[in-house]
Amino acid sequence: MRITLMIPCLVEDCLPEIGLAVVSVLERLGVGVDHPRVQTCCGQMAWKTGDVARARALALRSLELFAGPAPVVCPSGSCAKMLRTYPELFAPGTPDHARALDLAGRVFEFCEFVLSLPGAPDIGAEWNVRAALHRSCQMDGSDAPQRLLSAVRGLTLLEPERPERCCGFGGLFSLQFPAVSESLLEDKAHELLALDPEILVSAEPSCLMNISGYLARLGRPVRPLHAAQALDHGLDLGLQGALTGALTGGPTWR
C-alpha cells in the first residue's frame, strides 16, 4: 500500500522531525510514502480568518497536489480537517466540488490511519514512560491517539483533568486575544504538569508548539512529542527488545 503524505507548513519548516517520524513509522508498518512537492499551506489560515476566496485558491492547489486515488495522510488534526472542509468551498455539482469530495473521502489524520492498519492498535511499540496526552480539540473527538498510545507496552498514558479543553492557541486567536489565549494555556499547562509526565504527546503540532513553548518559558520543559515521534521511538525500543539491541540507533526525535 502507498499513501500520499501531506505535511503541514509548521512541520515542514519548524518541526521536520515530526514528518520524519511519520515516514519512519509508516514504512516500518509496510506502507509506502509519497511526498508530493512543493507543499505550502492547506488554506486553513485563510479559511479561519474568513478569507474564503484565498482559501479556495489554496484548496485548488491541494486538489492538484493530492490528486489520485491514494489515501492522504497528515500528521495534524486541524490540517486534515481543513482538507475535509474543501467541499464547502465549491458549488455542488461542479467538477472542483467533485474533486474536493473525493479528496475529503480519503484524508486521514496520522493516528486514524495507523489505527486502520492490520495489527493496530498494537504495532509492536514499547516504551517505559509517563506520557501526558493533549487530545487537541482539532481532532474532532477522535480517540485514535489514545488507542494507539494505550497499546504501547510499558507506556503510562496520563490525561489531564479536562482532556478535551482547548490549549488556547486557536491560530490568529492567540495574536488577537493574547491575554485570553495565555489564560487558557496557563490552565492547560498546570493541568498537564499536575500529571508529572516525562513526555507530552499530541497529534496536533500547533497545540504541541503552543504548550511546549509555554512550559519552556515556565522553566518546566517536558519533552514535547508528536504521537508519530512517540510511536517511532516506541518501535525502536520494541525492535531493540526483539533483536536484543542488534538494530541500535538514536531515537529519531532527538
Binding site: L20, M45, K48, D51, R54, A57, C137, F177, S212
Partner: protein, 492 residues
Amino acid sequence: MEINPRDFREQSEKACHDATLRAVLDHATRYFQAKRGAALETFADRETHFARARAARLAALSRLPELLEQLEQTATAAGTRVHWAADAAQAREIITGIAQDCGAKVVVKGKSMVTEEIALNPALEAAGMEVWETDLGEFIVQLAGEPPSHIIAPCIHKSRADVAALFRAKLGLLGLSGLDGLPGQENLSDAASIPELTLLARKALREKFLAADLGVTGVNIAVAETGSVILVENEGNIRMSTTCPPVHVAVMSLEKVAATLEDAADILRVLPRSATGQKMSSYVSVLTGPRRPNEQDGARETHLVILDNGRSEVLAEPILREALLCFRCGACLNSCPVYQTIGGHAYGSVYSGPIGALLSSLLLPAQDTRDLPFGCTLCGACKRTCPLGIDHPRLMLRLRERVCQSSGTGLAGAAHSFLALHPLFYRLAVGAARAVDPNLDLLPRLPGFPGLANFVDTRQPPELKKPFSAQLLRLRKKQARTKKPHTNKGDA
C-alpha cells in the same frame, strides 16, 4: 454600567486579569456542567431526546410565518391581545403604551433576555414607572446597575460576599436574627449565608409584587396550536409576575414558537436538563389568555408582543439561520473555555458566550460586532454541548467571512496567501528567514500582528530548521544506496 461589543477585545483582555472573577466563573461553570451531566444521565437515550427537541425547533423555523399567524389567531381567541414589533423601539413603545393605558406605577418583571435585548427597563423608567426585576439574580444585577452576565444565571459573576455588600449598600438591610425572617440587630455581614440573602430579597420583592400594576415576562415557548405561553423557572417569581398584577405582558422573539403542545413537550424534556441540570424546573406555567369569569386568579388582561428585531433577515441566511434554533439553555456558555475565563460582561451585549457572539453579530450593527466571531478558538466545545446540534464554529466562520468581505484580511493575511500560492516565492521567503533569523528573534517585529510580541513573550517560539522535504530527499538517496526498506534512524 455602559457596555458595547465594540470593546470586546479590550474588555476580554481586562477580564483575564481579574483573578476573583476567574475563580468565581471557574466554580460556577464547573458546577453547572456537573449538574447538567448528571441530569442528562437520567435519559436512557439522550440523542433521541435531543433529536426530537431539534426537530421541534426546526419545524418551527421552517413554518415560521404560518405558525405565527396561527399563534395570533389562537391567542386572540383565548382573549390575549397580540402585538407585532418590528424592532426594539417599536416593542418599547407598545409595552410603554400598555403600561400607561393601565395607569401602571409599579412594574414587576420576570427574568427575560428579550426585554434586556430591547432595553425595556430604561424606557419604562423614563415614562415615570418603578420597575423591579424579581428573579433573584436579575434583582442583584439590577441593584448593581449591571446587565446580566449569563443567559440563565445573570449574576454568575458575583460571589456571596459581593451580594451581601450590595444588599447592605442598596437596601440598607440589617441581617436576620435567624432563618425565621425576623430582622436582627447587626448590619448584614459579608459572611451572610445564601438562605439568609435569599430571604432578604424575598421579603423586599414580596412588597413589590403586591404593589405591582403590571407584570412583564419573556416567553420560553409559545404554542401556535393553543395560543398558550409557556414559562419555565425555579423561583416562582415569574408565576407571581403573571398572576399578582392585573395586567400581564409576555414578550417573545418570534422564533420561540412551537407548532403543538407535543412539540413543546419535546422541548421541555431537554431544556431544564440542559440549562440547570433538572429533569423539570420547579415551575412550569402554561398560560392561555386572561382569567376566566369563574376563575380565582390570573391576570385580568393579557398581551403578547411578538418581536422581530432583525430575525426575519437572519432566517433568510442559509448557514446562519441555525442560530435561531437556540432555546437559551446557556449550556454552551458553561462549556466555552473563553466564557469560563472572561465571563459575560466582556462580550458587551445582552447575549454572551458562543451563542451570544453569534446572536449579537446577527442582531446588532455590523460595525459594532466585528471582533465577536474572532474571540473564539473554534475548539467546538459549544457544538459538542448544544442539545439542539447548533454548529457554532461553522457559524463563527461564516460571520468571519462577512467581516472579511467588508474589510479584508489585512496585509499579513494577504502576504501569507500570496506566498502559499506561489511555492517558489514561499520557499525563497522561508529560506531567507532561516538564513537571517533561524531562532525567530525578529518575530515580534513582524508587521501586521501586534500580538506576536506577547506570543513570544509567553511562549518560546519554534526555530526554523532544515525543511522536512530536503531532509526526506537526503534520506531517500541514502535509502537508495543501502536499499533498506525503512528509514535510517540515525539520520534524523
